[in-house]
């Protein structure tokens, strides 16, 4: 299991041919209190960089992009009643959606831990 990052502060945790997508600790701190999350429809086919979800804080709305191409296989339904999970626990309980990856090798172009840490220094 590896976790990769995008320069737009999404993470994707790769388990076999499935990727679990959310936003990073750094991103949730920047956004502040999250009040609503619009999740993608299950079955939606996303290309890398497509708008997949929208995260709303009180004063801002931010698009979440698909880190890699794939098909949405599951969404975190708990977020509809408890969007604060993204603030409290972004990289575990606050995950947003799962993708069945179209091409596992695509993840190689993403940032690893060290590169992402550099970016947010």
């Amino acid at each position: 299991m590896t976790t990769k990052f995008t320069p737009d502060h999404e993470y994707i945790r790769i388990e076999g041919d499935t990727g679990i997508v959310g936003i990073t600790q750094f991103a949730q701190e920047q956004l502040g209190d999250i009040v609503f999350i619009e999740l993608p429809a299950i079955g939606k086919v996303l290309k890398k960089g497509d708008e997949a979800a929208v995260v709303e804080s009180v004063k801002a709305a931010s698009e979440i992009y698909a880190p890699v191409s794939g098909t949405v296989s599951e969404v975190n339904a708990a977020l509809s009643t408890e969007p604060g999970l993204v603030n409290a626990d972004p990289e575990a309980g606050g995950w947003m959606f799962k993708l069945t990856l179209a091409d596992v090798t695509e993840t190689e172009t993403l940032l690893d831990d060290a590169a992402y840490a550099d970016l947010t220094k």
Partner: protein
Amino acid sequence: MSMNSQGRPTGIGTLGTSATGSALLPEEPLLFEIGDTDHSGVDLPDVELGEDRLGDFARRSPLDLPGLTEPEAMRHYVRLSRLNHSIDSGMYPLGSCTMKHNPRLNEKIARLPGFADIHPLQPFSTVQGALAVMDQLSHWLMTLTNMAAVALSPKAGAHGELLGMMAIKAAQDARGEAGRRIVLVPESAHGTNPATAAFLGYTVKAVPARDDGTVDVEAVKAALSSEVAAIMLTNPNTCGLFEPQVIDIARAVHEAGAFFYCDGANFNAIMGVVRPGDLGIDAMHINLHKTFSTPHGGGGPGAGPVVLSEALAPFAPVPFLRKTSGGIELVEHVGEQALGRVTAFQGQMGMYVRALTYMLSHGGDGLAQAAQDAVLNANYIKARLEAVFSVPFPDYPTMHEALFDDSFLKGTGVSTLDFAKALIDEGFHPMTMYFPLVVHGAMLVEPTESESKQTLDRFCDVMLALAEAAKAGQSERFTGAPFKAPRRRLDETRAARQPVLKWERESEVPQAAE
């Protein structure tokens, strides 16, 4: 810093007491908590219907609509009103919002039965005076802007902007140039500009601002192509600066076959001094509630007439005026190819009457004076504050509003928002914050021509004293502010996470945790 008995800071203060729950400002319940379904403040005959003509559609579900008696209503709304800041009770240094004095003659005239009690669909022969008001207002607007035509009907500035861009689209379609899909919008634009362009299906392309806060004609030229439909430019711009290259920008836009939409939100800075038609503008909306003193009313109603160039005049929406030997009529229908109608009836007549009253009171000379006074006041604030509050774009004199940034707060632990909230405790409405977006921690101050030098000085004194307090480490008087308003800071996260958008009886409120 000194503290009062509740541990709240005193000091610079201009307000006497803490307002929350004070003797003259009691807590006011919701009308539903005071009223009852059998309370009524209106004496109406209780007629018996013999056989009704409602078919099967009579109401069966309960209304459950509590009412108030007349004295209850009077007290409820008077008490609530006192929880509002208003231009009549204090200064609103709100950049881009133009909170100027609202003369009461306007209100008196708008209530004459000959204006207030006439129906939009009366025969034209019975409303010649109303049509003359529209005609005279049109004349003033076209003369002040040196434009060929005006469409009065838009309900507010954003609506006018939509109409103006629809007219541009219609003109391009008529020329067989429907392929123009891009609208250029400078980064400093009002949020409505990209929203309007996107609404009409255009792709928005941002034009970067120069370091001096203005738009570079070369950047516009670089962005222009045969696919560009229009540029949407605010002038004076949202940084409070007059675009020095506006005429060159207009020329470049026209040479590329595109149109020039000007957001006229800031026309109050130049009315009677500069005519937009002389700058090459094709369409511009005018916020009657900003420039011509119709009241803001707690968020509307506004009015947003749009002036149009010769090229766009044929694409004006209905209705418009036509003079005949028998008087003035409204043209309410034209062919399908035109833009059509953007609102029922003829728009915001109540606002036309107020704006025309204001224009007649001021005259052409007085309107120019008002613009120049607004610019003078803004420059005075800038001059008094610029040693402490940094000015991001110092190269030009400012127009009607002065833009500062929050770099003076660096290291104080006080945010722009905190600073603005502390102004409330001093009796001022906060300035516009975090807009325009091109400046980090922007603070935009617009005094308007209505404020006296004495008020400007008091405002500047307070601003300087607060800056000093922030730098002196008195962060708690900011981070907790306001202390003296009817409410402390409100929990907006809670409001958005669990929206409660109406009152419900206890029994109807769903239990929290399922």
